[in-house]
Symmetry: C2
Subunit: 136 residues, 2 copies
DNA sequence: AAAAGCAGTATACATTTCATAGCGATATTT
DNA sequence: AAATATCGCTATGAAATGTATACTGCTTTT
């Protein structure tokens, strides 16, 4: 819903370079529409949102409630967590189950698509041990 | 560290609120210091920064210059790209080679640690094809 | 009887990312 | 020959995103 309908190079073209038609020439299918149709780009955009990987990692241990999750991911603030959980649900990665409304009790758990993300996380984990050097 | 014993089936067995007795003060080693010592957390924090995965993905195709990279990742703004490249260099993921200062010519390329991230990206890619449903 | 926990929402502030202009020198286009 | 585009950034201010904190009404724990 934002300015994402712009083509990547439109940005560069807008910046005072009106005649830069040369720049626009080479665009891979994936990049051409900001990944609107490319699953890989969509996935990166999703997983790269703050807290998302931590949320998934935490839910791999089992279903959790809102505040429980909040603590275990490392202190995400409630507005952000709420928004992230919404989009994860829309994307079919988690399901939300309202066990009781008052007092409130909710449970979030991974779908099979969500569980499948374990491979990604294990890969990150393995990489981090072998190659990541600590921040200075 | 604990977060690595990920058990897919645990999900099925656990109902919500399994650890409610730990509400206030339970901090695992990993979480306790914001992941200061846990490689996995550090890695997620790094890879989750905006543009980082796109940068790595793009450099897997070969070394690139600043503006070239900027275009190919999908239009990252220069200040942000500059900052990301700095941290990626500090973390040992890319190397920066200044070929000429005036006129400027620089080349960014992955280190072996950077190339090793290909596994992560391939895993995301595979996952996205099989499980990610498009944003509504 | 008091305190703390549940799942969020609302508000106001802090941080991050953004678009854009600009640099001097060459390479390309007209 | 002259105008323009390009290189790799940095600087600026504005927009978008993330933050801490307070709050709700009801139950469980102390």
């Amino acid at each position: 819903m934002k300015a994402l309908e712009l083509q990547p190079n439109a940005i560069l073209e807008q910046t005072a370079f009106k005649n830069s038609h040369l720049e626009t020439a080479h665009l891979e299918p994936c990049e051409s529409a900001h990944g609107a149709m490319c699953p890989a780009i969509q996935a990166i955009e999703l997983l790269q949102e703050k807290w998302v990987l931590f949320i998934v990692r935490s839910l791999l241990e089992g279903a959790k409630g809102f505040n429980e999750l909040r603590r275990e991911v490392g202190g995400c603030n409630p507005s952000t967590l709420s928004e992230r959980l919404d989009t994860l649900e829309k994307r079919g990665i988690i399901t939300k189950t309202v066990c009781s409304t008052m007092p409130p009790r909710t449970s979030y758990q991974l779908t099979s698509a969500g569980v499948a993300l374990q491979n990604v996380i294990l890969e990150i984990d393995a990489w981090s041990r072998q190659h990541l050097k600590p921040a200075s």
